[in-house]
């Protein structure tokens, strides 16, 4: 009775860990029809990835185990299918694109080869496969596809890599495409491009799309129906409009309510003595100018958001301010002293005041340290902050502050989901009681409800403790809610700098306007014509990312 293309019934997945069995997915059921797009929405760690990995047969067993359920594709259970037949399904009938295209592309083979392989694996002749790969690359909008065929993944920008992944997934025109957070790593303009492409392709081939995300904007942009997951279980299902307009489950309600970009904008007060005064900072890598003279002021307790496309120099600026990279020229006066001229000993003292939360929480936490060790390391390095006897207590406090619990202390980073890890990283930054925290895409990996709470946490810290923030982000609604000032960067230059209201309400530059237009609204009613209005020049800016 193959009435649905895909039907998941009572699927349960568990993992065996030190602390016992983790029930990652608890008896979930949903279905998906031809040509339909289903979004699985849910906060970080709710089991979205695990459930879709089960469909692709990608769960590592052990430690994982599918403890119950069936996954029917056209009525046939994928879980009980013979191995050879099962393998034939992957790629041909069901294909997948992953969140992080760099690590999911094989670094040592050309992309042309990798796309062709999807076809040759399923019996296509080599030369035909290459022709087809070329066509696909052209189709997904990779410039100079002939040359691109011979290039390697590290030679592409993030957006381009994601397009390569998509081309690869679409190679055999699958009936079902699973996209696991396909745009989380991308900046808004590229995200808009990728989603647009997905929709077009879906229209062309009539495939069903299962998209996993925690971004309400993405959901409203692309999905027909939504499944909401929480703690491994499905708590609500329905059409996008139903869910958005009339959420039933308290969790869904909270999620919708947490969608950013709705609150009042900050109105910064009068500016007095700046905490940090940056003038004409320049940085070049070889002949490439990453920063072309950046200047701005930051007052205590103020938030400066830095937005701009990928590769525009945002992270480079952050690294220079923290002296992780030495800038070529310019000054950065911190309470009147030039950061770039400090000796190592002076810098050490200053480290307490100037902290950073990194873009990628997985990479920024030492995998061999427990949460307790990670957070308390701050006090090992700066022993005068807190006597050792109080560490445990304070770590617990910090964990609660960032929305984790004290028992998490003895766990290791890999035992947390991405969002949880970022909260640990924030707790670690807070441990030093700094005056300025630079957040480099610190909330991009978080789902909306957590994101809202983290933002609120940061906001509270700013109000209560007077911490200033440099807030690098590509999610404009978040910036709108949190920032006092917004700095828009493009190709190493500041193209626009002003208060939130100025930048959001009366953008002066075309580039800023393009950015704002590409930003997705969670409201399904607001989406009409959205993507169509993205200016062509903004969508096509695809600057190659730094190689590995």
């Amino acid at each position: 009775m193959a009435e649905h293309l895909l039907e998941v019934r009572n699927l349960s997945v568990e993992f065996h860990t030190a602390a016992g069995v983790v029930h990652a997915v608890k008896s979930i059921s949903y279905h998906l029809d031809k040509g339909e797009t289903l979004a699985i929405l849910g906060e970080s760690g709710s089991g979205k990835s695990v459930s879709s990995s089960a469909i692709m047969n990608l769960i590592d067993m052990p430690p994982g185990r599918i403890s119950s359920g069936e996954i029917l594709l056209d009525g046939r259970d994928l879980l009980t299918m013979p191995a050879e037949e099962r393998r034939e399904v992957n790629g041909r009938r069901v294909a997948m694109i992953f969140q992080d295209p760099l690590s999911h592309l094989n670094p040592v083979y050309s992309v042309g080869w990798q796309i062709s392989e999807a076809m040759t694996t399923h019996g296509l002749a080599g030369s035909k496969a290459r022709e087809e790969a070329l066509r696909l690359l052209r189709r997904v909008g990779i410039p100079e596809p002939e040359r691109a065929m011979r290039k390697y993944p590290h030679e592409f920008s993030g957006g381009q890599r994601q397009r390569v992944m998509i081309a690869m997934a679409l190679a055999l025109r699958p009936d079902l495409l699973i996209a696991d957070e396909p745009t989380t790593a991308l900046d808004v303009t590229v995200q808009a491009e990728v989603l647009k492409l997905l929709k077009e392709l879906q229209r062309e081939t009539g495939m069903a799309v299962l998209i996993i995300t925690h971004d309400l904007g993405v959901v409203s942009e692309i999905a027909d129906r939504v499944v909401v997951m929480e703690k491994g279980a499905i708590v609500e299902a329905g059409t996008v409009r139903e869910i958005y307009k009339n959420p039933q489950h308290p969790y869904t309600q909270k999620l919708i309510a947490a969608a950013p970009g709705k609150g009042a904008m900050h109105e910064p007060g009068a500016r007095a003595e700046p905490l940090l005064s940056v003038r004409d900072v320049r940085k070049t890598y070889g002949s490439f100018e990453a920063l072309k003279g950046i200047s701005f002021d930051l007052m205590p307790g103020e938030t400066m958001a830095v937005v701009g496309e990928s590769g525009s120099g945002k992270s480079t600026l952050a690294r220079a301010l923290l002296r992780l990279d030495e800038p070529d020229s310019g000054t950065a006066l911190w309470k009147g002293r030039d950061l770039f001229a400090l000796s190592p000993a002076e810098l050490y003292k200053l480290r307490r005041d100037l902290q950073m939360v990194f873009q990628d929480p997985t990479q920024s936490l030492n995998p061999r340290m427990t949460v307790y060790q990670l957070i308390s390391e701050a006090w090992v390095i700066h022993p005068d902050i807190l006597p050792k006897a109080k560490w445990r207590e304070r770590v617990a406090e910090l964990l609660v502050q960032v929305g984790l619990s004290a028992e998490h202390m003895s766990r290791y980073p890999h035992q947390f989901s991405g969002g949880q890890r970022q909260r640990i990283a924030i707790a670690r930054a807070l441990a030093l009681e700094p005056q300025l925290i630079i957040c480099d895409e610190a909330v991009s990996a978080l789902d909306v409800s957590v994101q809202a709470q983290v933002i609120e946490l940061l906001d509270r810290l700013r109000r209560e403790m007077g911490i200033a923030f440099i807030f690098i982000a590509h999610d404009l609604p978040v910036v709108r809610d949190f920032a006092d000032y917004v700095m828009v960067m493009q190709q190493g230059e500041v193209v626009e700098l002003g208060t939130v209201r100025e930048v959001f309400d009366t953008p002066r530059q075309a580039y800023t306007r393009a950015l704002l237009a590409a930003s997705l609204s969670p409201d399904p009613d607001a989406k009409a014509g959205h993507l169509a209005s993205v200016p062509a020049e903004a969508a096509d800016i695809l600057i190659p990312k730094r190689s590995h």
């Binding site: 692709m56 047969n57 990608l58 590592d60 393998r87 034939e88 399904v89 992957n90 790629g91 041909r92 294909a95 997948m96 992953f98 992080d100 690590s103 999911h104 592309l105 094989n106 670094p107 040592v108 083979y109 050309s110 392989e117 999807a118 694996t121 399923h122 390697y152 590290h154 992944m165 690869m168 190689s547 590995h548």
Partner: protein, 304 residues
């Protein structure tokens, strides 16, 4: 690329000079060749005259200056013992060693990759346990012991292989087999370890999602990524073979450079020792360049 090789060559030249200086002085601290060349009953005058004949009476720095002068003009001196140019002696022996090393390492690498990869694919399985057991034992067996046992079994008991020598292809079988064992044991372990992590990487997931079969996943997707550490170890093992498989050469009567080097230092035939070190060091340098090329060939990220 050329620039890179030139840089490497320069750096290696520095190492080489350091090596020569060190060996020159160290070896001369080990004793007087006259005492060894001449019988114990030889008179003091005879020894004196022998030293005079070979310039061993000059202050050591003078000897060194003369040596350096000769080396610069391409003359590595005469063998004290053999009355022929040291370089000829060494090159003759080195050719044998080179062949032995190349053939052995080719076989070892091929076999170790297959065994290690299969072990990694079903890590913890029966084949994995068996192969790591065998390779571990292989890595812990003394080679001279193995060599003699092999001769007893294959040459004496079964009489299917010659005991020793270099006459024909069959003569190479036992030495290669004995030399094979230890590097194989080590490289299998490295391949396995490297493959285990490569197989758990994200791009392997992608390949599985594409429906790629196990064979290509192991040998096409994971292996090439896992090869970098393997190549390093292969290089190390090859270097130690190029430096001479002394024990195996001794037992099988293989006229290689390892035995030559040890014999020469035992006889204080300094020129031969120095020439041998020079030749093997250059060979190892060239091999390292090859290894770097292999890196670049395998991993496009290194090419830039």
């Amino acid at each position: 690329m050329l620039r890179f090789i030139r840089q490497r060559a320069l750096a290696s030249l520095i190492s080489l000079i350091g090596l020569i200086v060190m060996v020159f002085f160290l070896s001369r601290m080990t004793g007087d060749p006259a005492a060894l060349f001449l019988p114990v009953e030889a008179s003091a005058e005879m020894k004196e005259q022998f030293r005079e004949l070979h310039g061993l009476n000059d202050p050591i720095l003078v000897q060194f200056a003369r040596y350096v002068g000769d080396v610069v003009t391409g003359d590595l001196g005469e063998s004290l013992r053999k009355a022929r140019p040291a370089l000829d002696v060494v090159l003759e022996a080195f050719t044998w060693t080179l062949w032995l090393a190349v053939i052995t390492m080719t076989l070892v690498t091929g076999a170790a990759i297959v065994v290690g990869s299969l072990g990694a694919f079903r890590s913890g399985g029966f084949f994995d346990r068996l192969s790591s057991m065998v390779s571990l034992i292989g890595a812990s067996v003394p080679d001279f012991w193995l060599a003699i046992v092999a001769i007893v079994i294959f040459s004496i008991n079964f009489a299917i292989l010659p005991t020793s020598g270099t006459g024909s292809v069959v003569h190479w079988i036992l030495p290669i087999a004995v030399l094979f064992v230890r590097p194989f044991g080590i490289i299998v372990q490295v391949v396995r370890g490297s493959m285990v992590s490569a197989l758990s990487s994200a791009y392997v997931k992608t390949a599985r999602a594409k429906g790629v079969k196990s064979g290509p996943i192991i040998f096409i997707h994971a292996l090439r990524n896992a090869m970098l550490p393997v190549i390093t170890v292969v290089g190390d093992q090859a270097a130690s073979l190029l430096n001479g498989a002394v024990v195996v050469e001794t037992i099988f009567g293989f006229p290689g450079v390892g035995k030559l080097m040890i014999d020469s230092i035992l006889q204080r035939d300094f020129n031969v020792v120095l020439a041998a070190i020079l030749v093997t060091a250059i060979a190892i340098f060239l091999m390292n360049v090859l290894i770097d090329l292999a890196y670049a060939l395998l991993d496009p990220r290194i090419r830039h």
